[in-house]
Symmetry: C2
Subunit: 279 residues, 2 copies
């Protein structure tokens, strides 16, 4: 029996089940990962993934996760429904929905997701996206986050060395690329749910691109996983190199591409999201 306190991330994505095979789970939003008007989208993505990972019918490991943020979750309990809609010999397709009880009693759809899992086999492999040459994590200062900041940011140790949050919101235009070293603030060995969450730690590219603090929020994120248990174990509680860049900013939405490498240079995850922004 362990008497140690669970990690805040494990608390945030903890799910209970009434009927495991039916894929119905319940959870509770975490104040530790609260964002401005709802939970950090990274934890919501991790919750969707976690439901699939806990399902007894799971085949293989996740390779693709798409999460659509239909509405901000309210603080409190939520329901997760994970359904294996198709199981092939080596791949499996899941749909996931996160709902909360609505005012009228009808469920309130907050999140839809799809997950593809697969039984991977060892094959030839290579990368066409080499880790850029960057300073070591120890050579970069962590950002200091005051108590006025949103809660979830405090759960990560972030060491940005280019493209940090603009010091002045002066409307100057610049390229939207950010590079940071990142890991859980409280040590926790990397797994796929935390990799899914860390794919969403980058602040909105529009803030950097325009040096303007406009309202912005992720509408949909897709993350591809390129890691199995060995790659994750090699990282352990170490840093990931994160890179995020805006691509096209057009009439209220921009897309943002992101990569996460291990310190050893292995590309563990590639992620893309489309983000709402206000003029």
């Amino acid at each position: 029996m362990s008497t140690s306190t669970p990690h805040p991330f494990d608390k945030a994505i903890a799910l209970q089940h009434s009927d495991l095979r039916a894929g119905h789970f319940t959870g509770t939003t975490s104040p530790d990962y609260w964002n401005m008007v709802g939970p950090f989208g990274g934890t919501t993505a991790a919750v969707a993934l976690q439901a699939v990972l806990q399902h007894p019918d799971l085949l293989g490991t996740p390779i693709a996760l798409t999460v659509n943020y239909a509405a901000a979750l309210e603080a409190g309990a939520f329901d997760v429904q994970a359904t294996a809609v198709r199981t092939n010999r080596s791949t499996q397709h899941w749909t996931v929905q996160i709902t909360q009880p609505g005012a009228s009693g009808a469920p309130n759809m907050t999140t839809t997701a799809t997950v593809v899992t697969a039984a991977r086999r060892e094959t030839w492999g290579r990368s066409d996206l080499a880790m850029p040459e960057v300073p070591k994590p120890e050579a970069v200062e962590p950002i200091r986050i005051g108590p006025a900041g949103v809660a979830w940011v405090q759960q990560y140790e972030m060491r940005p060395f280019s493209g940090g949050i603009p010091a002045q919101w002066d409307g100057s235009l610049q390229h939207s690329e950010t590079r940071i070293w990142v890991r859980d603030a409280q040590a926790r060995p990397l797994d796929l749910p935390s990799l899914a969450a860390m794919s969403d730690v980058f602040y909105p590219r529009i803030w950097l691109r325009r040096a303007r603090h406009v309202p912005a929020g992720t509408v949909s994120i897709t993350t591809y996983f390129h890691a199995d248990a060995a790659q994750l174990a090699e990282v352990g509680t170490g840093f990931l190199l994160g890179q995020a860049t805006g691509q096209q900013f057009f009439n209220g939405f921009f897309d943002q591409t992101a990569q996460l490498w291990s310190e050893a240079g292995v590309l563990l995850a590639t992620s893309n999201q489309i983000v709402y922004y206000k003029e």
Copy 2:
């Protein structure tokens, strides 16, 4: 009354409905866009989008489309169910499923998709992904496709000028980037379904990366649209510049990122997919 023959693409994505508001549609696979063991994935993506576009409850225009290829469609009739699971003030979230009658009578799930639509407003805009300097389409020879090729390829006029299909399957390693000019072989004004389809015209990056013709197939694709009616009209029947690059090739799956610009240099769509490959 028009007596002209419909364009093959319009035939391929044509949907009938029994109950429009219920979002239930039927269609038929097109021999014109047949791939090796099923329809070209681009048309399947376009069908999912088309169901949303034809739904009377549609809010705004598509900004994000994720399509998961759970199983190859068999030649013949299919059912499409498009459901608006959440409608907000300016965004709307859809789930789409494409099924075919199964051997036992139970529906056979072939495709799941999610679509986000939005009422766009004019805002500040800019690109951080400029069109590369490339030769004009007129300066590039179209590839000649013999009758032995798969059908769908013949529906596109493709003018690759770098990263073409290897002339020899000699196992030599090279970078996985391809650049082509592409448009419908039979002239058709660009719209969002054809933009969705053209996001998937690139042959598997693994063939180029390894100069090996291994089995490969898209498992999931996500496309973000950065164009509205004005951008699409400006393209008309003109060429798009397509660029596709592999990122991480690992244990049976690689991801492939793609961009489509208008000839005038507007980034119209960005797309990512994860692709199965066999050693």
